[in-house]
Amino acid sequence: MKVALIFPPQGHFTQPYLSLPSLSAYLRQNGIDEVHQLDVNIEAYDWFLSEPRLRRSLERIDARRRLAELDAKEQLVFSDMERYQALSETALVGEEVAARIEEAKRVLRDAGEFYDYQRYLWAGRTMEHALRIFSAEYAPTKLTAHGFVMRQRIERSREILEAVDCEAENPFLEYFREHTLPRLEAIDPDLIGISLTFPSQAIPTLTLCKLIKQWKPGVHVTVGGGLLAYTAKKLAQRPELWDLIDSMVMLEGERPLLQLCEHVQGKRELADIANLVYRDEAGVVQTTPHLAPLDIGTLPTPDFDGLPLEKYFSPELVLPLAATRGCYWGKCVFCTLYTVIGPGYRGRSIEQTVGDMRALQDKYGVRNFYLAIEDLPPDMARAFPRAILDAGLDVNWWCDARLEHKVFDKEVCRDLAASGCKRIAYGYESASRRVLGRMCKGIDPDQSMELIKRTHEAGISVTLYAMIGFPTETRAEAQSTLDTILAHQDWIQEVSVRVFYLDERSEIFGRREEFDIVEIYPDPEADLQVYYDFKCSSGMSRAEARQVYLAFTRALRSHFPVFQNTNMLYHELKSHYFLYLVKHGSWEALRANVLEPTANGSAHAPGETPMRRGDLVELPLAFDRSVLDDVVSSIDSATIRPRYQSDLLEEEDRARFDGELAPLGRMESTLVYDRRTGEVQCLSPATADLLARCDGSRSLEEVVEIYPEEVRSDARRAIDAISRAGLLVTASART
């Protein structure tokens, strides 16, 4: 009996997910000896971010030719501008990025380089350039470190099926054919299980299913995972789906998957398998009864054997571990996340969890753990740290938690820190007592801030989850949340903020009249719709909430060191910020050693001889790229037309902007790519000329004197700006 378990794109690329290792361990414990785990997500990223694949992209994009066509135009309409961004970046950096992408991956995987912050930033920017180049090949499709979106909406099954066949815009068709199918052919599995957890995996999953069925129609393909808790029953109504898969597993997958193995072995009927959705021989969709939730104390330690642990883009392994399933609180009216793995809250014993850590440490040498739980339960918060210390485990870990001020007292915070807890992400949501009450959060905002302070003072990095636009929330209440966070920013290291979504499976959806929701707006074509746009008779409108959210994020970027410049981009990736915390021991040390001294260059003093750095790449353009960027970024797709988890514009909106927005006239600029940092600057012609004149032959004053007297002070300031951007060195630094 051969089983292939697949984690499809797109998820994070910094650490493995828990689904396949949990299932593999259970199957192996129950006598299924040949279980293959394929993290196709990390394999795909590893290939897409490789020199041969990027060179293929560069050839197909043909950026210089297409950019020249745009540069020959008298003016650019909106959709031209979007293309111009991608083509100018590709033309400028493409060759260098392709040549050095392997080096960038090496930096992220190598402890000696990863913790050199300048090298880390360069590697991160290089990866981002590469992902944009790759995406340009499949435009408007966008693959980033955080997501994968195509023009097709994943709330509409018709569009998902359309995307599955779209050779020009779906990058996974070619990838799966070239890489995944040959691996599956070599395994020749009897059963294939695919973990569908995130919306970003929906199109890749069904794309893969289709190719598998073309290759081997008789193999049983089952799909399970968190997303299906929301969409399986709706998806099952789409007849074409059943040409791609044989069954869907609802809620936790261990027992249904084992029973599916028995089915494939001819020992069990599909109708006798719990938690299953399938189509019977008469073509009727059947849903089998749900089993009572598992006692997770009976489960084995997750088994990561067979995963390509060396391929994740982190220098040290961070392994996920679930000590609990479900949420011990389970009352927040907006939340449904804790329901996707089955009803009820269950936990492993503290001894078992410590044993899991030890077993994984012994087997994989891992020191770092992410507790993949909804929240740290009170009994565990009190006893887990001592158990880790008593076991003599040298580990670092982080998790989510509720702001339980009676639980996290000074002693508990101190013990948590002593046991290796480096980061806690708390569900803060709002500073308003009224809003928290309506959410049924069960927390006291004043006590919460005291707890945050205690956590910080114990040496644990604090992340807060915040929410904008909860029904009835006023602008003043949202503003008070931001103001409170900013007032206590010394104690708070990260904030993860989002706009409230109305989830049809949430408590609030069923009681929406109580929350002044007077209208919801179903999309008639969205047969898989889970989240609804709505109108509230009190508090902020949806558009206003979006505007407040954008203002909120701007404030976070300007006030929090982690979010400044491009820091957030890299640190918020699941493991990286945590690993930096581990490396430096505390937030204070990380800030002092790494985040604050990151300026590229400094202004030049009188008498110095500024010199253009020799490793810059320049690209003259017929249009001003910085003005163009302003125009494109002024369009907030979520304000125009909310699309859940996609910031792509609809074609009809794009066409409208082409007609309505003032076209951009020609105005030259020069892009300058800094090979050392990976950054790109846009220079006006005068600044580009000034940079060229800083050739090491003239002092600062002599360069300035080239210009008419009335602009010399401007030229002087511009040299400082160029210097701060890191494009100049002083002659004394010449080597």
Partner: protein
Amino acid sequence: MKKEERDPSKTEPPRTRTEKQAGETGAPEAPKRPRYEFKILPVDPKNSFDFEDVADK
């Protein structure tokens, strides 16, 4: 040090492509920036990250 370049009148920045084309073809001049507008801005294609993108995985 190149003495001759210290006279600004001899070393003004070259005309832009836009200016050359406008002058040479006799076409009406396109809108243009002031000759000595010193501008340098980091390029941000607004696709680095969105807080909401990052939150969910």
